[in-house]
């Protein structure tokens, strides 16, 4: 008696099947549609580069202001920490207020003025960099 059997599919069979895969033809309007898309792409103006030259002074001033504020903050915190640390044998010493509070209103006024100046400079700079775009 003869019967049908199957052997595990071999590499040659897989190669034969995969290498004879039929291709498709692009539809008739494909090239035209691609060229339309390319023309649209070409018609779009190139993106405006960031004006590094004009922005550089503002960036430098901004970075300087940030650095100044950070340094001032660190100094103030250090002094505050030193002043509030419990000193041994302090019972006999007179109370010393934190140095940051020494300046009082004068110091606060300087900081406020500085903050206002930084804000003013940044507003002026941004108005100069983007005139009439608002």
């Amino acid at each position: 008696m003869r019967r049908l059997t199957g052997q595990q599919i071999g590499n040659e069979e897989i190669e034969r099947i995969l290498s004879r895969e039929d291709g498709i033809l692009p539809s008739s309007g494909f090239a035209v549609s691609v060229m339309d898309a390319v023309r649209r792409e070409a018609a779009v103006p190139p993106p405006i580069p960031f004006p590094w030259k004009r922005a550089l002074p503002g960036l430098v001033v901004g970075a300087f202001a940030v650095a100044l504020v950070l340094v001032a903050g660190v100094v103030a915190l250090t002094q505050l920490g030193r002043a509030s640390a419990p000193a041994p044998f302090s019972m006999s010493l007179p109370f010393i207020s934190p140095p940051t509070l020494h300046g009082g209103i004068g110091s606060a006024a300087i900081w406020t003025a500085l903050a206002l100046l930084v804000a003013f400079v940044s507003v002026k700079l941004s108005m100069r960099l983007a005139p009439g775009r608002i």
Binding site: L4, T5, Q7, I9, N11, I14, I17, L18, F30, S33
Partner: protein
């Protein structure tokens, strides 16, 4: 612009066909090929003249097709489902050639991406390992390993029913 039109005319068929092998959907294949041409147009300046243009174009298209299919995968079946014969009438022996071919291609589509991509590109480039490896951006050795492993998975997962029927004396 007219020079690029020549490029589109020359390469439209290969790029659409390559996309079709990835997604098996004519409409999507043409969309992906169009996007590939657009990217080629934008990136023509990046093509180094010492490289063959077709190699550069196929690598660009392959990258695009792979990322598109990662974003929206093509409809595939699992390898286990491939084992089910399409035509129950043929389950006693072998399937018709056409059905067997279809089942093998479905099985390729169900392979893990790295093996599937290796097989697609290898056969698309007429079994040229160097070109296929360049298109995929992997060393030739890696491609060969992926081809070997991909075929192994195919052979182990494809059902015996798919094999060429042979008459055996009992």
């Amino acid at each position: 612009m007219s020079a690029f039109e020549g490029i589109v005319q020359r390469w439209q068929s290969p790029l659409v066909n390559l996309a079709y092998r990835f997604c098996h959907d004519r409409g999507r294949a043409e969309e992906m090929a169009q996007e590939a041409f657009l990217r080629a147009y934008r990136g023509l300046g990046q093509w180094r003249k010492d490289a063959v243009f077709s190699t550069w174009l196929f690598a660009l298209a392959t990258n695009l097709y792979r990322s598109e299919l990662r974003r929206i995968p093509a409809r595939t079946v699992s390898l286990e489902d491939v084992a089910e014969p399409l035509d129950a009438r043929a389950s006693d022996g072998g399937l018709e050639d056409r059905d067997r071919d279809f089942a093998v291609r479905r099985a390729v589509g169900a392979l893990p991406a790295k093996y599937r991509e290796a097989l697609i590109l290898f056969y698309f480039h007429d079994m040229d390992v160097t070109t296929a490896a360049r298109s995929l951006g992997v060393p030739e050795g890696t491609l060969k390993a992926r081809l070997f492993r991909g075929r192994e998975i195919l052979r182990s997962k494809l059902p015996r029913r798919l094999a060429v029927p042979r008459l055996k004396e009992a």
